[in-house]
């Protein structure tokens, strides 16, 4: 429109002005589309600005030549007008160059941003997947030792006490099913987790016989408190191992749960021999995976604590309660 009125005001006929502006603008719009599409499929990585300059300059020249040829063909005999077209070439080129340059820069920015957003989304997705996988792996690290030794106990029981063997198979199955079905981030009641622990402890008691006894103390108030599923089992497993392999006598594992402000506090106690082992070594794989899991779930590193009290080793875990 602007183009048309300017041309008419310079003394061109309406027909000339209309034809000129329609042709110029359609071609210019085509050039813009070309640039946008080009940017969509190919985003320059280096020397972006040179690329913008070159492409808009090049296209503006091609565009200028094209309209001149077209106008020449249409208005072959109107010399005054054709002269005007020639003399306005610089202006036309300038306008086209600026238009195309703006278009190129805008689409460059637009597509670059879009690409960055996509990349970010991909990265976040990848991080999430990695975290899920890590959590899954941490939880799956059920000690093969435990499994094979339990199976060996069952094998022994089959000969002497088949009824007992059957019971242990059921306990072991329930335990294994528990490790499989639970969701990573799912929070469960302490009550439920304690039942699961009981199952685990029953199996261990069959394995170790009279050497292992356990005490579980749980305040009524915290039975309904929440904690990540299967969090306590590796802590108890660690305590049993530490207790049983560091002493030769009978041991008692004491598990106490209490509510403390907005936290559920569970402590697991096992005896050890301070003469022969520095408790540092006791915090082997079992606890480092618990620590890692707590970090991934709550983004905190201060929820797991160990204490030494004479010949007792204590592991204390604090679980923040959802408000």
């Amino acid at each position: 429109m602007v183009h048309y009125s300017v041309l008419v005001s310079y003394g061109l006929t309406q027909w000339q002005g209309l034809a000129d502006s329609v042709i110029s603008n359609i071609l210019l719009a085509a050039c813009c589309l070309l640039i946008i599409n080009n940017m969509r499929y190919y985003l320059p990585r280096q020397e972006k600005y040179w690329y913008v300059l070159v492409i808009s300059g090049g296209l503006a020249s091609v565009w200028l030549i094209a309209i001149r040829m077209l106008l020449w063909a249409i208005f072959q005999n109107e010399h005054a007008y054709l002269e005007m077209v020639s003399s306005s070439s610089t202006v036309r080129f300038g306008v086209a160059f600026l238009m195309l340059g703006c278009m190129a820069t805008m689409s460059l920015l637009f597509f670059t941003q879009k690409e960055q957003k996509e990349m970010e989304a991909r990265k976040m997705e990848a991080e999430k997947l990695a975290k899920e996988a890590e959590l899954y792996k941490l939880r799956q690290q059920l000690q093969p030792h435990f499994l094979f030794n339990s199976l060996n106990s069952i094998s022994a029981l089959i000969g002497s006490q088949p009824e007992h063997a059957r019971k242990m198979i059921h306990q072991l199955s329930d335990f294994l099913r528990g490790t499989l079905k639970k969701e990573e981030r799912q929070l469960v009641n302490l009550e439920e987790e304690m039942q699961y622990l009981e199952l685990y402890l029953d199996i261990e008691k069959v394995r170790f016989g009279h050497r292992l006894s356990t005490v579980m103390e749980c305040e009524q108030a915290c039975r309904a408190m929440k904690l990540p599923s299967l969090l306590l089992q590796p802590i108890v497993e660690n305590a049993i191992k530490f207790g049983l392999y560091d002493t030769t006598g009978d041991i008692t594992i004491r598990i106490t749960a209490a509510a403390n402000k907005n936290y559920l506090e569970v402590s697991v106690e096992n005896p050890f021999d301070p003469e022969t082992s520095s408790p540092k070594k006791g915090t082997g794989f079992g606890l480092s995976s618990v620590q890692r899991r707590l970090y991934l779930l709550f983004a905190r590193n201060d929820l797991l604590e160990t204490k030494v009290n004479d010949n007792l080793f204590m592991t204390i875990v604090k679980i923040p309660q959802p408000q």
């Binding site: 030792h145 060996n152 106990s153 022994a156 002497s160 394995r207 170790f208």
Partner: protein
């Protein structure tokens, strides 16, 4: 023939016992629930064959065998121990992975009965112990026998080691103990960040060093916190300087 079972899990012992009932010529002389009992029982009964678990309270199966001069033929029973299994595969000593079948057990017994040459077996057991003790857990402590008692020494409590004929003398604040291993063995298994071989016959815990003094031409002596003096050779001094960052 006398047999001995050493395993901390009662049910694991009972299954070996059950399988053994099919061999009237083998008499089960005792069942032990840990390595301490095991050492005593082996000395008392001198069994022809032992069934030995690896993961046991206080000292593991390998450490127990190290305490016995001329250990008897051994069939290891274990649930899962990647490292140990790798060690077994290179040696003729048999091992049973829990839970094991009666057929597998019989095969192990046949193999043992078929090995007429007992010395071959002994050498195998020795070689196995050598290779197993390179494992991480066992380079953290040394198990020694002293006046009929078994002592577990965490490596950080060792002041220094001294070669003594076929043995190595382990010096600690509670005195010194003999261990039937070579200096080369300790040089390889003890962490080089803490232990340095300062001399052909000495390995020192560098955390125990208070000062280094010249001794004779081109040789030195380190003084430990305990007051003990340990010779340092010319090459030992170079190593020591490197470790201490001098």
């Amino acid at each position: 023939m006398k047999a001995l079972i050493i395993d901390d899990e009662p049910l694991a012992r009972s299954i070996v016992k059950e399988y053994l009932q099919h061999y009237p010529q083998i008499e089960l002389v005792q069942e032990c629930s840990d390595g301490f009992e095991g050492v005593k029982a082996i000395q008392q009964h001198r069994p022809d064959i032992i069934f030995l678990d690896i993961q046991m309270p206080k000292i593991n199966g390998f450490e127990m065998l190290e305490l016995i001069d001329n250990p008897p033929a051994t069939i290891f029973t274990t649930a899962f121990d990647e490292y140990a299994i790798k060690a077994f595969e290179g040696h003729a000593v048999d091992y049973l992975l829990k839970p094991f079948s009666r057929e597998r057990f019989d095969k192990a017994i046949q193999k043992w009965l078929g090995q007429a040459n007992a010395t071959v077996q002994k050498n195998n057991t020795q070689a196995l112990l050598e290779s197993v003790s390179h494992s991480a857990a066992q380079s953290q402590r040394i198990v020694v026998k002293t006046a009929g008692k078994i002592k577990i020494i965490p490596v950080e409590e060792i002041h220094y080691l001294e070669a003594a004929d076929d043995y190595v003398k382990v010096h600690t604040k509670e005195g010194s103990f003999l261990k039937n291993r070579t200096m080369g063995h300790f040089e390889q298994t003890l962490g080089t960040d803490v232990f340095t071989r300062t001399h052909r016959s000495y390995i020192v815990n560098i955390q125990q060093i208070t000062r280094i003094e010249p001794y004779e031409k081109e040789s030195y002596v380190v003084i430990l916190k305990s007051g003990a003096q340990v010779p340092v050779s010319k090459t030992g001094y170079a190593k020591l300087k490197q470790v201490l960052g001098l």
